[in-house]
């Protein structure tokens, strides 16, 4: 009945409408929370004449929400990736990833607020949409850690687990940012980066004095 998301056969206006609706959905969810982001509200923000139009362009509410999640990850990937890709040492890659992520959180609060609220409000959002993407991100991060260990930059630890922990430090930072919008981001970033450095760094030339 509706045009399906098979991205190939979308009219131009189709695609534009979908983008417009996704953007309105992000704005709405960020503003009202997931639970109160009804089609009516989203349609109002998108300047649509009726909530029915959303149903016309998306198969489901889940379909729309899935697109929203995809959009946020897409933008995030675009922004953060170059930040760590250019790095030479593992630590500078890690640092780039941390700082890039935090900067992205700061400049795209609306997107991330929407994402967080979806992940919180939709019981299956995590497993359906975020899970795989997070796994990929985690894998990339773990790879950097392994590289750092091999290069002697990082101490011994289980790279998978530590990757998870670092990832969660970032989630925590995001939470902090969204909850306390006035927080001192620069100071927070510095403290977090330093903490990570201490947490993973190999004891420099100090093997004998190890406790």
């Amino acid at each position: 009945m509706q045009p399906k998301p098979g991205s190939a056969d979308l009219t131009f206006t189709e695609a534009a409408r979908r983008k417009q609706i996704v953007a309105a959905a992000i704005e709405t969810i960020a503003e009202l929370g997931y639970a109160k982001a009804s089609f009516a509200q989203i349609a109002r923000r998108a300047g649509l004449s009726s909530p029915g139009l959303i149903s016309y362009h998306f198969a489901n509410k889940d379909d729309l929400i899935g697109q929203v999640v995809a959009e946020v990850y897409r933008v995030g990937g675009e922004v953060v990736r170059p930040n760590s890709a250019a790095a030479t040492s593992a630590w500078s890659a890690l640092r780039g990833y941390l700082e890039g992520s935090l900067a992205f959180y700061d400049t795209h609060r609306g997107h991330l607020l929407a994402l967080v609220r979806i992940l919180q409000g939709h019981p299956e959002a995590l497993s359906r949409w975020a899970g795989p993407r997070n796994a990929a991100e985690l894998a990339g991060l773990a790879e950097v850690l392994v590289r750092g260990q091999r290069a002697g930059e990082f101490r011994e630890f289980d790279p998978g687990t530590v990757a998870v922990i670092i990832r969660q430090l970032l989630s925590g930072a995001l939470q902090h940012l969204l909850t306390q919008p006035a927080a001192d981001l620069t100071g927070y970033t510095r403290e977090l980066v330093t903490l990570c450095e201490h947490a993973v760094a190999a004891p420099r030339r100090r093997i004998k004095e190890q406790r």
Copy 2:
């Protein structure tokens, strides 16, 4: 109209029913998420004849949810506190807090899943119920950090910020646990504790070689 939560003057059956309903609410929210945890669902799980019975025992949905939050924090306090109270050094107190929290997360996944979903789904849950409690917990944690710094156990850092970060490491661990129920908790705990140790420990006898 309804018997109010002034815990003093509750009938025995009243108290039992309330406990039963709170338990069913925890179960339901853990299973379905906050948004879909309707009185109808909770009543079904509690074996009640009608959703109206919940309204009979609780003034509000918020009243019930508040009781759920209180219950989770109550249990958590009971389990975690002794773990760090007995400690002598700041580091062993911190370690006890970390390990105790993680153990509690592990043994009470349902409770914590419900709590997390409430904090995510209810727009005022954080400010109304969790905020004060978290602040108290953070203050206690910061105090331990300061104690450690004075005793020379911990390096120099801003205790408030690092307390926030450590708190978020625990939230992250909880998230991990709830998301990946099959994860190796023992390994994860060990890694997290080690990471924290490196993150906060003072460089022993290495003041001169400081970066």
Copy 3:
């Protein structure tokens, strides 16, 4: 199941309870309006342990409300009747009835507020409870009017109709009193009595035979 209102076989405590509940019902309805006067509210004001007790003593909500109406009319009859019974001329009887009614309205605002709210809120209250009583009152009033016409005190008019109109002047006055509690009752009474006098008095020839 319940003791029926057949007033004969009531225990002493039974009767006392019923009076108490009726009084609480009057108070509640006057205060909250008919629609919000739930058994729970009435029971609270009566100091009863449960709304169920009202159901125990009255067959129905309608049963209770009927008793409330009866009580108000009973008190009203007791207060107003002597006021006009002692009169000699028809006009003084009429005047006594008017002034007595208004005085009763003034001193028993709670009772009358409850009565009015019942008559307004209960779709069948008028036909079931108030209708017959009003008819009786009207008949008495018409009788006075006829007496006055025969005595040459009153002009020619249809006694039944004018009785209705005078009755409604009183309803109007009551409405006024309940709506504007600060109104000047004395002035209002004087104006109303004068108006009635002009409205029914026989033309001229009365300058000499003035009341």
Copy 4:
């Protein structure tokens, strides 16, 4: 969300539906009383598929009820105004107002029954919807009375109070009409008009014998 009552931008079907629902509400309230006039009952009478449709067209129950009140006053104004506007003398204006009102009451019993029941059943109906309109009507009536007094048509009295009393005579007549649908309206009207005439008329050609 819903089309708002800004009567300008209503679709044709919108307007029709709203009229239909208002009409059904009037019918329902007249029949069942305000308290039992649920959306379900109104929807049934309007032939709607679900109560939800009413919520779709009106923001609130109060919104709907407000429209009902407005409608009744609108119709009433249309019918009664011309009746007294054409008058030359104060008395003929007053008479026109009385007769016009009574005629309107007679031909629109359903509308007025609904209005009365709303004013009685809704705790804020009077202050919110009827109060201002009644005040305006009273002011107009008092003006006529003053005019009559200045012209020597009416005796001395407090115009405000007598306006209230006359207004209440009409309310009383309405009450009578609604309560006793079989009553002889013509006779009643004649009697009421005569009574008012006597009640307010200046003693004719007896200026010298003035009390």
